[in-house]
Symmetry: C2
Subunit: 286 residues, 2 copies
């Protein structure tokens, strides 16, 4: 999967998160360790691509892009903790609490979450755009967004969810932050409400497709490419799209959601790179 934005995103992230020489350097190093662990940088890429779609300057959206990636990173750190998924590895390296310790990982996650909102205010944009971005990012990543989805995800381990509940879990757990990313791009581009609504809808469908493919890869993926063991969902007794709908139907649904996402953006000029990215995500191997 080609993504030409990655070097610029990682350079900006690095600048925001370079650990200072202080007495609390250890936690700052943990923040950087997790944020600089690579990954597809998908969410910040959506910020920049939607800014382009809104005829904005992606450079001015870079702070928003980094903020969304910080939220994503904190959620992974906290998700890996022993009281949550208890995962020792992430992207082929020890997870944050294994590399450092639990208290440091907890605080590094808290600090990344907080730094995300500080970073939004660093964008070279108007106070109106910044305040709107804070509101959207907080709503999408909080209790009625991503965190709510994580709560549902934990509940789905102990009780089998209905199809409706499973769908809602994925919308919140994965879709909400992707929606925020797309919407923040539009806000940075200062575009109209129609595109903002389209960004929200694209993010919803793309998020669903993305999570379903995650489920599929957890069953049939290549451990070396994924950087983590396959079969962890089954080992945790987790109910996923694959366990509920089966492999074939899940592939079909991922393709359908991807098509819905594509339909939304194809009306816009300058949507080639976003279209290509959307298509590649459907056939991704990691």
């Amino acid at each position: 999967m080609r993504n030409n934005w990655i070097p610029e995103i990682e350079a900006a992230l690095h600048q925001y998160l370079a650990p200072p020489q202080t007495a609390y350097r250890r936690a700052a190093e943990a923040m950087a360790y997790s944020a600089e662990a690579g990954g597809k940088r998908l969410r910040p890429t959506f910020v920049l691509e939607f800014c382009k779609l809104a005829s904005g300057d992606p450079q001015k959206a870079m702070a928003f892009a980094c903020a969304v990636e910080m939220i994503h990173t904190y959620s992974l750190i906290h998700d890996d903790l022993p009281c949550m998924d208890n995962d020792d590895f992430r992207r082929g390296r020890p997870s944050c609490h294994k590399q450092f310790d639990e208290a440091t990982a907890l605080l590094a996650g808290d600090a990344l979450l907080t730094r995300a909102f500080e970073t939004l205010t660093d964008a070279p944009l108007s106070p109106e755009q910044i305040a709107k971005a804070v509101c959207v990012l907080a709503k999408c990543s909080g209790i009625n967004g991503m965190v709510g989805g994580q709560v549902m995800d934990l509940q789905n381990e102990t009780e089998a969810p209905s199809a409706e509940i499973l769908n809602r879990t994925y919308e919140l757990k994965t879709g909400a932050l992707i929606q925020a990313a797309c919407m923040l791009g539009v806000i940075a581009g200062n575009s109209n409400d129609k595109l903002l609504e389209d960004a929200r809808e694209y993010g919803l469908y793309l998020g669903l497709a993305f999570q379903i493919i995650d489920d599929i890869l957890d069953v049939s993926g290549d451990e070396t490419l994924l950087g983590k063991p396959v079969g962890s969902d089954a080992a945790n007794g987790k109910h996923t799209f694959v366990t509920v709908y089966g492999m074939e139907k899940s592939r079909e649904m991922a393709a359908q959601y991807t098509q819905k996402a594509l339909t939304i953006i194809q009306a816009y000029p300058d949507s080639e790179s976003l279209t290509e990215l959307t298509r590649e995500l459907l056939v991704r191997k990691y």
Copy 2:
């Protein structure tokens, strides 16, 4: 200690945190459980009092006040977790992870932190004021503020801090969020930079005095009034102002910092209630 703001603050907090009827209600209940556990409501009170000092309308600062209290509450929830201070009780009730469970407490903390920033954007103030408040609150509560102080606090359990390090720990751990509270009040009152700087300095001194008195109460306080066992610092082998300077010298320093704080605000008209609160905090029993 009288605080006439408490009923209004608690009514506003309750409105922001009423758990919705959703599949993730359990975590929303955990948020409300911890936020509605009472306490002195000191930080939101500082927001409202400094707004008054800035000749602003405290009602318009209520969202800022609630946001600061949410940050304070999340920090207590995460601080009580087993990997941190491992405290089973808080304000005379089971701590959040004992009442619910660790995963729920972790996520409730994350959600309160996030909701704090969403709540700032709900204030009936200009986008300039909101963006400035986001920046100040994030800086003061993140890695270079409160969270940095928590990291240092943990380190002070294993290695004896110098007087300088201990002072810096208290400035960050306790002072930074109180500074944010005072500054957010001034921002809500749309006052000048002089008062903003005075609010920052007042918060620093008041925060130091407050934390030193906490240390003193942990040795000599009344368990019933405090709602928690005394002697926990000593049991944890924690280095505090009392262990480093002794009881008498600590009392003296708390009085000196309080006097410095009082000197800053006495120049302002309408500072009677803030002066009274500042004085009462020095002789508080809980």
